[in-house]
Symmetry: C2
């Protein structure tokens, strides 16, 4: 890409950025470069007014009538349909419900039951912990099932006739490494296995294509690049062709065909709604709906191009300006094999992260030694990342991270 | 109780009501008598400001740092401890998480696994649908388990050596009939079974006593009498003596002993936190925390006395003023055997309910033929219920319900 960006070049790129106007749709604090949208997305300006309406008008004034009057009861399907557009799915293939963890459990149990003659959930070591933990919980609950972990380089060849389902996170939470969704899905199908993709670190930053890749099942997070608010409800995708063949073990009343008939026997709804469980989290959905609405006029190609340009320039600037300061890139260098965050290893990554936060550059630490920077194409610009690298270089040159109070770990790291 | 209340007598009771000041802590619309707090509780005034702070200060300004700075990460335990006080549990026996349905699944699977030599989940027909549906889902997931339903009058004697767990809703959603928690729990324990009480229609309206009744397990709803907002997160209770013997099948990362170590293997947290699963729903928790805080200075005895007085007077007034109009009480007449709502059967219950709502008296319909009135002791007064009965009597005398547009059922009934 030639010489690393200087500030003027960065400003010029910002001027030419087709997503530039999106920044004004977010309520970010002054003076902060927020590179942690991959962990908790920033607040859309519309989230405050949307939530105020949900609390003060819908809940407080219209009370119980809001289930019909304000469409609360269809919010899981309505917001699901908006997310479907971002992941290459049909509107009736996605629903918002529960958490990523709970949705993983539903779909893993459904997949294992559907492939009842096969015993293995295949995944990779170092997958996001809740994916591994939930898979272990499924194996402990269903008799005769086991979780097998195989490193990414040998995954496709490890899929065999005993594999019920391949469970992978599309973009790795720590390194940003991205799997080849089409190739692994095809390999799984060739051996008769189902695939379940966790899109938590992809959706909203990179276009993904459920239907184009013939994906069976997916889950994803609402509070990262979708900017749905802390602990936002999650979503799940089930390919249309499979919906009526799969059963959710979490057969709560909202997945019933006629929930307000109050029958004693569970009869699943037709279609994606059968994967709902309890009463929808209306307030959480209101914030998530505001987050997803920001994407309405965003081109997936613009999103991807900007994600790659931001992260490519960042790597190049860091390596030019921070050479010899103990940082090692642990993300793939090739942008086409990477998601929208970049991680560097550093011997004192935790303290370094704290020092950067103290100077307004917010990345995060991931155990044991990674500092992670997220590139949200909607609200980060090129001058922002120039400033982040400038700050990083200064902190390293001054050894500003080498303070005892930066080394004391908080509850959430 | 003597003659039914007239309006002056009702106003006099309001003047003497120790909970009278609580009404001002709720944002209820003018001219509405809201008798549906058993379905969706009213909005506390503090919910709007609490949510505004959560969205505009915690999320938008302090971003990811709020997990530590604003105590998001401990909110499930903190709000759980506040609820514990209302149900006779220790602070570390309750946690807020997920939905009632999901919590039922966790605890039913844990109970069945803990009583592995027993095959039956015992419950009653007509229990709240999601309780039955989730039990059926558990039976479909765990091999060899079945759901057995026995009517309330024969329940205790039906508990036998094959009963793993007795699952009951303490107060019946339709009739308001209340089980004898102490007697049934003792009967279950005498036969070696566990009990799981659904407190959704009790908590916040009636004192219940988990420790006093030696209850093993319980779940409950945040959006009814706790006034936590539409689709609020739910809670679960596990007796201290059982916590480290039970395992949640939904072994998500927030139930891990060290979630931020990002280990590959699931090791459950000690204590109640092992029943957490995914990332806490922070915004929903903020509203629920405001709802629960209203109870801080409320005496359980006052709550119970007012709930009973309101519902006793209501029944008496309805039967005096609406005699011969086709209403039949389907709730227990004895307040000590009843929760905090009262239902009447009527041949056109749905239309009658709509006619009442049109005149500002909000109860709800429950299939097939019940109209249900909830008595929230915190924000309903005696003059309110006098007015509700006056409206009901007028609607019946004028046959105001007999209109075609009142008979068209909405999606949520």
């Amino acid at each position: 890409m030639g010489d690393p960006l200087d500030r003027d070049a960065a400003l010029a790129l910002d001027m030419a950025d087709p997503l530039r106007a999106k920044r004004a749709q977010f309520a970010l604090p002054e003076g902060v470069v927020y590179m942690n949208g991959n962990s908790l997305g920033a607040a859309p300006v519309a989230a405050a007014s949307g939530m105020d309406r949900a609390v003060c008008v819908e809940w407080a004034r219209d009370l119980i009538g809001s289930w019909n009057l304000h469409g609360w009861i269809r919010a899981p399907q309505r917001v699901g349909a908006s997310i479907a557009r971002l992941i290459g799915a049909a509107p009736d293939e996605v629903v918002v419900a529960d958490t990523t963890s709970v949705n993983l459990f539903k779909l893993l149990v459904a997949a294992c039951t559907h492939r009842s003659g096969r015993s293995t959930i295949l995944t990779e070591p170092g997958n996001f912990p809740t994916d591994l933990y939930i898979a272990q919980g499924v194996a402990a609950t269903l008799p005769g099932r086991t979780v097998r972990t195989v490193t990414a380089d040998r995954l496709s060849e490890a899929i065999d006739d005993d594999t019920a389902v391949v469970l992978l996170t599309h973009v790795h939470y720590r390194t940003g490494a991205m799997h080849d969704m089409a190739a692994i899905t095809a390999a799984a199908h060739a051996r008769g296995a189902l695939v379940l993709w966790d899109l938590s670190h992809s959706v909203g930053a990179l276009p993904v294509d459920m239907n184009g890749c013939d994906v069976d099942l997916a889950v994803g997070c609402g509070y990262k690049y979708l900017n749905g608010g802390p602990g936002a409800p999650a979503f799940l995708y089930v390919a249309k062709r499979l919906q009526d063949q799969l059963a959710s073990p979490l057969s709560g009343w909202m997945g019933h065909g006629t929930p307000f008939a109050f029958d004693d026997d569970y009869v699943p709804a037709q279609g994606i709604s059968r994967f709902l469980c309890g009463t929808p989290p209306v307030l959480g959905l209101a914030a998530l709906e505001a987050g997803v609405a920001v994407f309405d006029d965003v081109s997936p190609a613009d999103l991807l191009a900007k994600s790659r340009a931001l992260s490519d320039h960042f790597i190049e600037m860091v390596e030019a300006r921070c050479a010899g300061q103990g940082l090692t890139l642990i993300s793939p260098r090739d942008a086409s094999r990477r998601g929208s965050h970049v991680s560097f290893a550093h011997a004192d990554a935790y303290a370094l992260c704290q020092a950067l936060i103290a100077r307004g550059v917010v990345g995060d630490f991931r155990a044991p030694d990674a500092i992670r920077f997220g590139f949200t194409p909607l609200y980060l610009g090129f001058e922002d990342i120039w400033r982040a690298v400038d700050t990083l270089a200064t902190v390293l040159e001054e050894r500003a991270w080498d303070r005892q109070d930066y080394k004391v770990r908080a509850a959430v790291t």
